[in-house]
Structure formats: C-alpha cells, structure tokens
Symmetry: C2
C-alpha cells in the first residue's frame, strides 16, 4: 500500500517528501517531488554538466521510493533536456559539449537542406567585434529581469557560413558572473558559446524563447552582412534561461535569409 508516513522504511531525504492525501490541497505527486529534488541538485551543482548521476536504484534508495517513481521523474527531466539517458551506461547531466547537440539553439539551416537530414556541415567562422562591460538599457534590463543601469557584459559578433556573413548579433549577459570574459578568450575558444559559459562561468542554458520579426536592414547592418540597404532581414530576439527559469542571456540577432532559412516544427 502507498502510505508513506506509516509503512515506508525511508532514510533521511525521504522525510522531506509529503504524503499524498485528500487533506492536503497543495498536493504534488511523489515523482514530481523527486523531480524537484533532482532539479535542485542540478542547480546547486551537486552534479555538473557532463557528469554521471547516481543510478535509478541508488536514487530510489536515497529517496525511499520505488525505482519506478524515480524513473518517471528522470523520464520527464530527460524529455526536458536536463538529463541524458544512455542504456547500459547510466544517466548524465546534459551539456553543450557534445557533437550531437552542437546547434540545438541555432535553427538556421541552408536552403538546400533536405528534410530529415542533419544540417550545417558547412564550415562556420566567428568574428568577435566587441566584448565589453556596459550599463543595461531599459529594454535589456526589463527583459533580463534586472534594474536599468546595472552592469551587463555585451558581446557583438558575426557568424560566417561558407565564408559569407549570415548572422550579426548582440549578446547581453547579466550581472558580475561574466566579468572575467574577454575578447581574447572568445577568440581562442573552440566550440559553442554556451559550452564556454557552462565550463568557465557556471551558467548552463536550459531553454529559450524567441521572437521573430522581419526588418529592413540599416546602412550599418547591410554593410556587415553584405546586403543592400533596406534588404529584408530576419530579426531573432532570444531570451535564454538557466536552471530554475532564471533569465541568463538576452540576444538580438539579424539573420540574412537569402540562402538560409529558420526551421521550425509544429506539434
């Protein structure tokens, strides 16, 4: 029977869990509470990106629940992209250091891309135009959930695909966490920006929201992206969140969609 308080021979951690009961209106199922505990461990850095977390059987023992309950919690976290299951090996904390998930957040693909094919085998080059400390504008502050005038790190860069400039973007990072970030470090780093943030700034981007618009290129934007002035560009504003729905990056990118498009799936 499922009556935790009475029958379960649970170790310490389980005592935090609340029994299901009609008397408790703010009831949350066990597996969801387990999910919360695991998420907390991820936030606290108990298990770091790329690392192996304890086995299901182990977690079940620790939490004083059945393996099936842990399984359901881990299943959902894996579906949300926080964890990665590998049969025979164990469950790992997701990371941006992985060939598999290199371009998880960049939805731009060459027009030639065939459906179902893995896109972007194109050579990609990055040019960092700027990396400086600045004061948050009204807009940037509101988006990042900080106060206007607070310090942010701003990066301005250009992405080139097959030698052609395709993306021009400004990136805003809140707070003092990124104070040590320099243009030199950006230049020398091989791999995705989010992998760098993860390894050296303890900030893992978990999910993001994007707003897309079409805009006419300004003179400066046109020059950088080598298009005519007033040519249509895709404006992509991205707000990325770290663990716990914490806004951790705001990005404003202009995409030249003459030979590339933004790919999306609707379900």
């Amino acid at each position: 029977m499922h009556d935790m308080m009475a029958t379960r021979t649970a170790p310490d951690p389980a005592s935090e869990l609340q029994a299901a009961s009609a008397a408790n209106p703010s009831f949350s199922p066990l597996y969801r509470q387990i999910k919360g505990l695991i998420t907390r461990s991820l936030q606290q850095g108990d298990w770091k990106p790329g690392e192996l977390i304890p086995s299901e059987a182990d977690l079940a023992r620790r939490f004083g629940v059945s393996q099936g309950t842990v399984r359901k919690a881990v299943d959902e976290l894996a579906a949300e992209g926080l964890l990665l299951r590998r049969q025979g090996r164990g469950t790992f904390v997701s990371t941006h250091h992985e060939e598999r998930v290199k371009f998880r957040f960049l939805r731009l693909v060459p027009d030639a891309t065939v459906e179902g094919e893995r896109p972007l085998p194109q050579p990609m080059e990055r040019q960092f135009l700027e990396c400086r400390r600045a004061r948050a504008s009204q807009e940037v502050a509101r988006t990042l959930g900080i106060k206007a005038g607070e310090s942010v790190t701003q990066i301005r860069r250009l992405l080139l695909l097959a030698g052609e400039p395709v993306v021009f973007e400004d990136i805003y990072l809140p707070g003092p966490a990124f104070r040590a970030l320099t243009a030199e470090r950006l230049e020398s780093y091989r791999g995705p920006l989010y992998a760098l943030f993860e390894s050296e700034f303890s900030t893992r981007m978990v999910r993001a929201e994007e707003k897309l618009r079409a805009v006419n290129a300004s003179a400066q934007e046109a020059q950088l992206l080598r298009v005519r002035e007033a040519e249509a560009l895709l404006l992509v504003e991205r707000l990325s969140f770290s663990y716990g729905e914490l806004p951790a990056e705001y990005r404003r990118g202009l995409y030249n969609t003459r030979h590339h498009h933004y790919r999306n799936e609707l379900n």
Copy 2:
C-alpha cells in the same frame, strides 16, 4: 515472465504482435507495436476526431497486454498530440474543434503579449480572395509529393487582426479530396480552417514543418497588407502532415510583423 507466444492467453488481435527476442533483429518493444495499432485505427477512422476511444483496461484486454503497456503507448500518442487524456472521463481523439487548441499552428502574437499569457484575444477576421482548382507547379508538386500538373485546390486569403491585415497566404491542397470546397463554404464556416478540413474533408492535420525567411514586399503584397513597397515581411512556408506522415497541405504566408511577432520555444 514475459513470453507471449507461450504463456499469454491472448485474443485474436494480440496474435499480430511479435515477441521480443534477441533472435529477432527488427524487434520493436510491445508498447511501440501497440502504438502502431492505435495509430492505424486513427488513420482508418475507426475512432474519429473528438470521439472517445476505448478505456486503457479495454485496450489492454483487446491487445492481450497489461494496462501499463497500453498506458505507455497512449502516453506517447498524447505527447505527440494525437490523443487527449482527461482524468475521470477517458481518452479522446484530438481535434481542431476546441477552444484550447484553436491557434495551435499560428504562432503569430501581438507584441504586447506578456510571457505566459494566452495570446490572441484579438478579434480576427478572414477574407477569402480566391478558391479554385489549379495545376500543381513544379515547386508545389515537389513539396506535396505529387506530380507537376496534377490537380490541387488553391485558396488565397487575408487575415485581419484588430481590423488590420496581418497575414496574406496561399494554401495548396493536393488531390481530389477537396474538390467540393468552395469560396462560399469557406466564407460561411465559423472556426479554424483545419476544423473544416477535419469535419468535411476527412483530413486531420497532425503536425507541420515551417521554413521562415525575411523578404521585401512586392507591390501587390504591399498593397494587400497596407505597407510600403519593399517593406520587410516574414515569409512562412508550412508543410502540414496528416496521419502517417502524409503531406496534406502546403501554405505560403506573408506576415506583417510591425505589431506582431512569431513566437517560438527552444528546448
């Protein structure tokens, strides 16, 4: 133990299922086979959109498996949006006739929309400019997986939000299924286009792929959307699929993103 062929006292349908075994390289887990059988029933129209499907216990008996196995199959189909579970009532076939999911495929929201809020309480008006039979062009044919020159139904329409024209799109429907569709029917129908297709043309759109680009408005497009010529517009090409990954609609829409934006979530 789990040895179907020997121990299960299964009714007829279960005999189609294949036992798991190392000897069978093309092995698929039971719940996935169940999923396939349910999907087939949906395709065949055994259970129509909006209808109640048999209970888990019932399906388990029919297929000769445990309720847990059926549950896993239904869980996945619900996650994919094919089924809708309602506690205490049963499991229903998803439909486009539902307040909840009215704008599942239209990602355009007003700029004022606050995160987490339900968008589009705006009054929406539709103007159908055209509805005719035509021959598929090279491009349309290739996209829909038919031969160039075959008959398609073409709809041209305008969407107005808060009185302003915001979307101008051409819609292409393959084959003879939509031969009976007329401009009058489109005008008189209340509710989403996909609901009409579902009720009267036995075509349910299950998922879609979109390609987004920014383009400069032509003279005609500018006039229809009431913007300046060459103003940037968001071009959205959508390929919708019915049950069984069947391409069922191709749509080419131009969005005026001056006061609206295309909203997307990245996980």
